[in-house]
Amino acid sequence: MALGSTPVREYAEPATVWLSRARARTALVVVAVVAFYVVSWHLAKVDLGRLATGLPKMASWARKAWPPATDELPVLLLRAAETVAMAAIGTTAAALLALPVCVLAARNVTPSMTLYYPTRWFLNALRGIDSFVFALLFVAAVGLGPFAGVLGIALHTWGSTAKLWAEAIENVPPGALEAAAATGASRVKVLAFALVPDVAPAMVSVALFWWEFNVRASTVLGVVGAGGIGQELKNSMDLLLFPRLLTIILIILAMVTMIDYGSEWLRRRLE
């Protein structure tokens, strides 16, 4: 029997209230969002007029920058390599530090909740402070140069990596861990055997992402004197050497693009 041929029946529906709580709440949210943007616009001192007068200045710089300077290419490439190396060493150190900590910070495998909370707070503190800020402090402590950058990257990335790893661990279905524990095996064995194969690809993917991110971030670290190509960028800007500036920007673009593609290719291969 077709549905349409069944006897017609009226179904009760909830009554529609025009001035409901939900509608009032929606209106309130809209007002709050609008107010937020109005205040932000003023605080950020957005001034389109100044942009209009500034743009021609930039255009004249761009004209002066062509052709890019090639005389210092070997030095600049070395600086670029320095940036990649800083990111690699910093990220690797962060990963090694994050390895034991992420187990403490994952709710499902942490040995005790009294360790879980302090670990989470510690990681959030590391994450909250940008590698740029860390680098600023380390330049003062260990002097100018890429090592300060490495330390800055390592500390910030430690917090970020450990947190993302802990989340990857928390997303592992509990069944396999339970089954391994049910054989009477110790905790270390259970984690090494049943957890690692499940999370390892996600963990490597996260680490690659942070390396890629840190290559981009460490171009800026040079500005605070923490080595790498960023330092050359700042020098050129200070001395208004526009052809040199253009060369540096092109090198950064090429470097970041290559690393993005390489890292993406690697991450795809992990699945």
Binding site: G175, A179, A180, A182, T183, G184, A185, K189, F193
Partner: protein, 266 residues
């Protein structure tokens, strides 16, 4: 009787004695449940959802401590063991789960090796490099459940029935004398379910005490040596397969289902 050389004397392998468990919310999950299982027996635990089957399994593995009564495995009361002794007692007991619980990215034979985790040296587990004897044993266990040809296939590439048989092979590799299977065929199609239950029967035939919980009365009467029926936390019946009145049991099921529908306000 069994392959590990434990005396098959008067003491049964598993003895559950007057086990009572009430959860904090006041729900009485088990009340005064007693039974014993001998080596080589295939016992099926029947009962509708909420009958107390899961609580009983948790008591058998020491995951839940009963309020009173005792659960003895090889004469050791696992309700009174410290965590270290409990871990060693668990080696005797292998678990089979409804959702198979294999390590998805590892091969079938590596998953079978997981059954040997407790006895493998830690460095071998960390390096994931296993001695030839252990590897051979894993293959032997897979051969026993009829999956030798899938030894190097990743667990997540296997069908549900195959995954459950790998889980059984894992229990064999553990050299457990007791196998507990909580709803082992609830997620499987009828054909795979039959294969898995056949495999469990053959495990019991090797002298292992197998306790499996099932929903379907038909499967229980087809495969079990003995059927234990639970309802509302009480042991309703404990009888050999032949002496079991399937019709009466089905009525119990239907009645309790009808009650559940009523309770849900249907």
């Amino acid at each position: 009787m069994n392959s590990r050389g434990h005396p098959a004397g008067p003491a049964p392998l598993v003895r559950v004695d007057a086990v009572t468990k009430t959860y904090p919310a006041g729900v009485r999950a088990l009340s005064g449940v007693s039974f014993a299982v001998e080596p080589g027996e295939f016992v099926v635990l029947l009962g509708p959802s909420g009958a107390g089957k899961t609580t009983l399994f948790r008591c058998l593995t020491g995951l839940t401590r009963p309020d009173s009564g005792s659960v003895e495995i090889h004469g050791r009361d696992i309700c009174r063991l410290g965590s270290r002794d409990l871990r060693s007692a668990r080696r005797e007991v292998a678990m089979i789960f409804q959702q198979f619980n294999l390590i998805r990215r590892l091969t079938a034979s590596q998953n079978v090796l997981a059954g040997r985790l407790a006895v493998l040296p830690t460095w071998r587990v960390l390096a994931r490099s296993f001695a030839r004897d252990d590897r051979q044993m894993a293959l032997r266990c897979l051969d026993t459940v009829g999956l030798l040809d899938k030894a190097y296939t990743r667990a997540d590439q296997l069908s549900g029935g195959q995954q459950q048989r790998v889980a059984i092979a894992r229990a064999l590799a553990q050299e457990a004398t007791v196998v507990l299977a909580d709803e082992p065929v609830a997620s499987l199609d009828p054909e795979s379910a039959a294969t898995v239950l056949d495999t469990l029967r053959s495990v019991a035939a090797r002298g292992v005490a197998v306790i499996a919980s099932l929903h379907q009365v038909g499967l229980a009467t087809d495969y079990a040596d003995r059927i234990i029926a639970l309802r509302d936390g009480r042991l309703l019946e404990d009888a050999p397969r032949g002496a079991f009145d399937a019709r009466a049991l089905e009525q119990i099921y239907e009645r309790s289902d009808a009650r559940a529908v009523e309770a849900a306000g249907g």
